[in-house]
Each structure stands twice: as structure tokens, then as C-alpha cells.
């Protein structure tokens, strides 16, 4: 059992690998889309949207990611990887996303930047109800309460009423902290840097 991590040259890949290893799952860093083979693909992201999306397209990961999703493979997006799944982002003078989720990314107006820990509650049934397959059964835990770490200036606005969305918090309730739709799971926060909560979450979502 292993999970593919898209290596676009951005991001804290070693942190992501360490995080996934907490669930006793191996990972492969994949820098070429033809090498993708796992049923689970992770899109990490630390950077700016313009450079990230350009790199995705340059390496032809955009088509590969869509094909992976169309075939029923699980896709997990973290932070910028999550934002890249949207239709459009205002960052870097406006960029077209992968349109995998019916959402847009806008500059947050309520705060200059959300660089904080926020309380997080998660019920695993959200995944089941929304058709997200949990193949590896690494945890029997159904509910999780803890805190997660955010670091972003742009927020995701979800337009899909059939997708499950967990808001960031009350003050930033119009922005999604987590979205689940079928085989796609996106997280605005950094689970790989969310200490104990992140460690428990990876076991629940795989």
C-alpha cells in the first residue's frame, strides 16, 4: 500500500511524507505524471498560485490529475493543492484552476492573513456520506476534536451544495477549511503540521 505525492518542486514534501508515515503508509514522490500508479494521489502546496498552476500544467500533471479522479482514484489536496482544485483563484492577477470542485479562491477580506490555529471537529461519516472511499482502515476512530494550523491569505468559497464543507471557524465561516466531494478531499489547513490532530486525521482519511 502506498500513496503518490505530486512533486512539483514546491512545498514541504518531507513533512508530508512524515505525516503519511504516521499512518504506516508508504509514499512515493512523483515528478512525472506517467509514473502515477497509486489509487491515492496527494497534492501538497506551499507557494503562490501562479507558479504552482504553471508548473502543474508544464509537467502535464493537470490532465493526469483529472484522469486520476475520473477513474475513481482518491485525490487529497492540502492548502495550495486544495486551492488548485478550484475553478479560479484571484491570486497572482487571477489564475484558472483545475475545476475539480465548484469553488473559487478569493483574497480574504475579514483578515489580512489567517496564520493561526483553529479548533477543528471532524466526523468520519462525512466521508462515507459523500462517497469518499476509506480504503486502508487505519483507524476505528469516528470523531475527532482538536486544532489545526492555517497559513494562507486566500480562501476557498464553495459553490457546490452537494459537497460537504467544514468552515474555517465562525469568523471565517464563508471559507472552507475542508471540502469532501466523492473521491476528492481538500484541506485548507496543514494537517502535516497540526501535531496530534493531524496525526489522527491521516489515519481516519486513509
Amino acid at each position: 500500500m502506498y500513496l503518490d505525492i505530486a512533486d512539483l518542486g514546491f512545498g514541504n514534501l518531507s513533512s508530508i511524507q512524515h505525516w503519511v508515515s504516521l499512518a504506516n503508509i508508504k509514499t512515493r514522490l512523483v515528478d512525472c505524471p506517467t509514473k502515477l500508479s497509486s489509487s491515492t494521489l496527494l497534492l501538497p502546496g506551499v507557494g503562490s498560485a501562479g507558479s504552482y498552476l504553471s508548473r502543474l500544467r508544464e509537467l502535464k500533471f493537470d490532465d493526469a490529475v483529472r484522469e486520476h479522479v475520473d477513474k475513481g482514484g482518491r485525490l487529497i489536496g492540502i492548502c495550495l493543492g486544495f486551492q488548485a482544485m478550484a475553478k479560479f483563484t484571484e491570486e497572482d492577477s487571477g489564475q484558472v484552476g483545475l475545476s475539480l470542485i465548484d469553488a473559487d479562491v478569493i483574497k480574504m477580506t475579514e483578515v489580512f492573513s489567517n496564520n493561526q490555529w483553529h479548533a477543528f471537529s471532524f466526523d468520519k461519516r462525512v466521508l462515507q456520506v459523500n462517497g469518499y472511499p476509506c480504503d486502508y482502515k487505519r483507524s476505528k476512530k469516528r470523531k475527532l476534536s482538536g486544532r489545526v494550523f492555517f497559513n494562507h491569505e486566500y480562501g476557498v468559497i464553495n459553490h457546490d451544495k452537494e459537497a460537504a464543507t467544514v468552515p474555517i471557524n465562525n469568523a471565517l465561516s464563508r471559507y472552507s477549511g475542508l471540502i469532501v466531494k466523492n473521491n476528492i478531499l481538500g484541506m485548507q489547513f496543514h494537517p502535516e503540521k497540526s501535531q496530534q490532530t493531524g496525526a489522527e486525521l491521516i489515519r481516519m482519511i486513509l
Binding site: G11, G50, N115, E192, Q195, A199
Partner: protein, 238 residues
Amino acid sequence: MRIGTSLLLQNQNCVQSYGWELLRPLGDADTAVSALSEYACDDISFIRIARGDDCLAEFTKDLDVIRQLKCSTPVAFGGGLRSITHLDLLRGLPIERLVFSSAFITKDVQLLKHAQENFGRQSIQCLLPVSAQADEFEVFCCNKNRYIKLINLDFDFISEFANEIILYDTRHDGCASGFDARILNAVPISPNRLVLTGGIGKAEVKWAKKLRAAGVLIDNKTLHQESSIAGYRYAARM
């Protein structure tokens, strides 16, 4: 408000500084991070002690220390980030945020634009080591080994390229309290983008929280038995 801690790096080991001069060893980074993770520290800032004579070879050796960290806490890294070569060496490392100091003081646009494009502005912090001298303030420019007047800094430039600004009160460096609040009045940046460090005690945590500062960094003494971060966290809740 985040309550984090700073760890200074010198010759691949963690040290604590006092008054911007004396150094006390803290041990290796792995041990330090393990201890801080137990405290559920909000973030950890690794800052290299880098002056004008810093070189790429030493920088690379310190990066090897960071590379080996298995840390589930957000990590900021800085000290000696002076060229695109330095930045490119950071790819893939377990670092979420970058700390620049001299680049902001000398207005290195090319370097900061490269950092923005590859790491995102949300990951960029500007560190200003400030010293209060009677009625005026000075900021230390590390790559030139000298102080310049704080009023000569271009804060519009800093605001454009930095997500957060770390104000480091060097006169209270290593102290249990005493951060000079006058520094905040001298810096035309909203408190919600400021991180305070140098002389941060429980009283300072309380007023920083009232001010809605972005965060505080407890001087690296949290690793000494006589201090722990739990007490500071309690202060923030009160």
C-alpha cells in the same frame, strides 16, 4: 494569537542568547524539537546566527540539521537567506515559513520576489532586531554588522513583501520579561501582522493578546527546566 518559540542555530547546534551577546548551549535540534513538541508549541522559529562573514558552506551544514527533523509543528527558518541559491536549497525541507532580515533592510527585491513566487507571500516573515536607544530606535543589519536608524526603513516595502514582521527587542534578549512596548509605536504596521520576541514574559503575553498581535516567540529558554511554555499559554487564556 500564536505562542511559539525561537531556537538559535550556531555551528549546527541550538543556542540561547542573552542581550544579543552571550550564548548558552541548548543541545541538538532533534532533542530541542522533541521537547517543544511535547509542549504543543504553536510554532518554532529556527534562526541562524548569521553576520556579514556567513558563507554558503556553513548555511548548507545547518540545513542538514533541518533536513533531518521529524516535526509536526510549523517551522520557520531564517538567518543568512541572502541569495536565490540559498532559497533553492530549501526546496522540499520541512519548513513552512521563511525569515528574512537583511533582505528587507537592504531592499533586495529580486530575492524577495523569488521567495514570493516559490514559497508564497504567506510564508515570508521579516525579522527586525531592534534596539531602543534613549528616544530613538535602531535596527541591526546582520549582513553589514551594523545598526541603522529604524526610521530609515521602508515600511511600505516591508509591508508589500512580508506577511508578518517579527520585532526582536535585542536589549531584552534572553530576559524573562521586559519587551519594550515603545517599539510597537515606532513601527507603522498593524499589530495583527506583528510577532514579538525578546523579553516576552507572561505579562507581555497578556498585553500582546489584548493588542491582537499575530504571535509571540518565547526566547529559547523554554527548553530550560526553570521555564516551560505551558505557563505562557495559560497567561494567554487569562
